[in-house]
Symmetry: C2
Subunit: 296 residues, 2 copies
């Protein structure tokens, strides 16, 4: 199986798992559930849950055990996108080629669907902690819970700073700081969660955290490049607007060429962190390259 | 000390405790923190945290142990108010006599402050679980965590149904159902949390849950009455608009008199659940009466 097939396999696995958690009962609050399902069941690449699963697999085979955490992560990622897209923040009409949830339904539904998704991501973890087979396992999941709340906190701060800095001249350090919080915090949480649940050593956890930081940064730079010169049809949203919108991105700040150089450098740094794992880390290596080369 | 003094004492205790959790570091994201502080540091009565503390005290004296949970509850309650007030939902300009957070700052800040408050309420509980002195205590806190996520889920569903039913003819059963979810779910969580943490019996937990359901309903009916005939100066917001806004409340549906009767009946039902606790439940009894008689 090549990388793209493996990626699709993981995407399918996560989609199936998410489906189990979507409420199917015929309750009066069905429209909210429908909106939540609409937002969860997109063509999303499921990169974050895949990171949890594949990091887990570096150390252990019974990856089914980390699937609830994978779903929880995707729910919170989806919550962050829904709120980010709201008229009061980015005011985006499209996401992944479809109407955003506040456009498809309405603003109240989008706000509450986002709230519900964050809450349900915690609910899944709470339930997993409750169902631990032994105290050691329970303590690992409690550690994950704590890291989850820190990761969301960082994401929100990053999102806030991003909003606040719109149209302002900021330094490369601040730009990195914002993106580290906004994007890399979830990537870090994902690899750490996979590693913690699979009982990896603290050294491995730290090392993989560095990998995640690098691919998180990579992801953001590539996003900025695609946002400038990507194919709007493939992307499912308009391109080339960041400059006009006064958005500070790696591209509007340094130009496409410099951003591309920075992307290559960051990718190589990510790959170096995986050297000690040999063939077992093949997927994570190809993932770093995929993030750099993707067209959407 | 009479009831009102005790209530103020608890309010002060909770305010002091909240202050400890407000981030004081001089970070670049200071405006978000400022907005969070603005929303938390209001003249709020702190009824929900007080419920946790006073239920705890029915069974045990070392109530300091439940204070982090009291703060966590108030944070999530505040999050729910901030999002509820947003232009996309209730579009309220005032709350507790002051500008709502989206009016004082902006919509993006309000959305993200709400998200941050919900997340930090979990962060506090996660941290408390982590710092448990023994496994028994840890398991109790994990139970609280699970119940917390269910309570928030119910609140969101109630909030959503409330939005969806605006201007529609609905039955008294549905109105009770909505308010049970929207308001009583947190009251129930509070007494259950106090009781669980204080190692109360399952029978006591169930009985106090009934008390909470009743005062939750009481609270909502009284809110509806005040919203119609309260003093707008004391309330800190305009009154008498629910009918014009097509809001379904106990008052717009049944009139003030019938709503008042229903309020009395519900209060008596709340008081009956406390009979077995004698003098120890004095505060909770007076609280049920206070909710009925309050003027804001």
């Amino acid at each position: 199986m090549n990388f793209k097939e493996k990626l699709r396999d993981n995407q399918e696995l996560v989609n199936q798992e998410i489906n189990k958690y979507i409420k199917k009962e015929n309750l009066p609050e069905i429209t909210l559930n429908e909106a939540i399902e609409y937002s969860l069941m997109s063509s999303a690449k499921r990169l974050r849950p895949t990171l949890i699963i594949e990091t887990y697999k570096l150390f252990k085979n019974d990856y089914e055990k980390c699937l609830p955490f994978a779903v929880s992560m995707e729910m919170t990622h989806t919550f962050s996108l829904i709120h980010d897209d709201l008229p009061g923040i980015d005011n985006d009409d499209y996401r992944r080629g479809r109407l955003t949830i506040h456009k498809m339904y309405n603003e109240a539904t989008a706000i509450l669907a986002g709230d519900s998704l964050m809450n349900n991501s915690y609910r899944i973890i709470a339930n997993e902690i409750n169902n631990s087979e032994n105290i050691d396992q329970m303590k690992k999941k409690i550690r994950v819970l704590n890291e989850f709340s820190c990761a969301i906190d960082e994401m929100i701060i990053g999102e806030y700073l991003d909003t606040e800095c719109e149209g302002k001249e900021i330094s490369k350090e601040k730009l990195d700081y914002i993106h580290n919080k906004k994007t890399a915090s979830f990537f870090k949480y994902c690899v750490r969660t996979g590693a913690i649940l699979a009982e990896a050593s603290e050294e491995d956890i730290d090392n993989l955290t560095l990998y995640a930081e690098k691919i998180g940064l990579e992801f953001q730079i590539k996003d900025d490049i695609l946002s400038e010169i990507g194919d709007s049809k493939i992307m499912g949203k308009p391109v080339g607007n960041d400059k006009a919108m006064n958005k500070i991105t790696y591209v509007t700040k340094f130009g496409v060429e410099k951003a591309q150089e920075y992307l290559e450098k960051t990718t190589n740094e990510a790959l170096r962190t995986l050297e000690t794992y040999g063939n077992k880390a093949e997927f994570l290596k190809e993932l770093a390259i995929y993030i750099k080369d993707r067209n959407h």
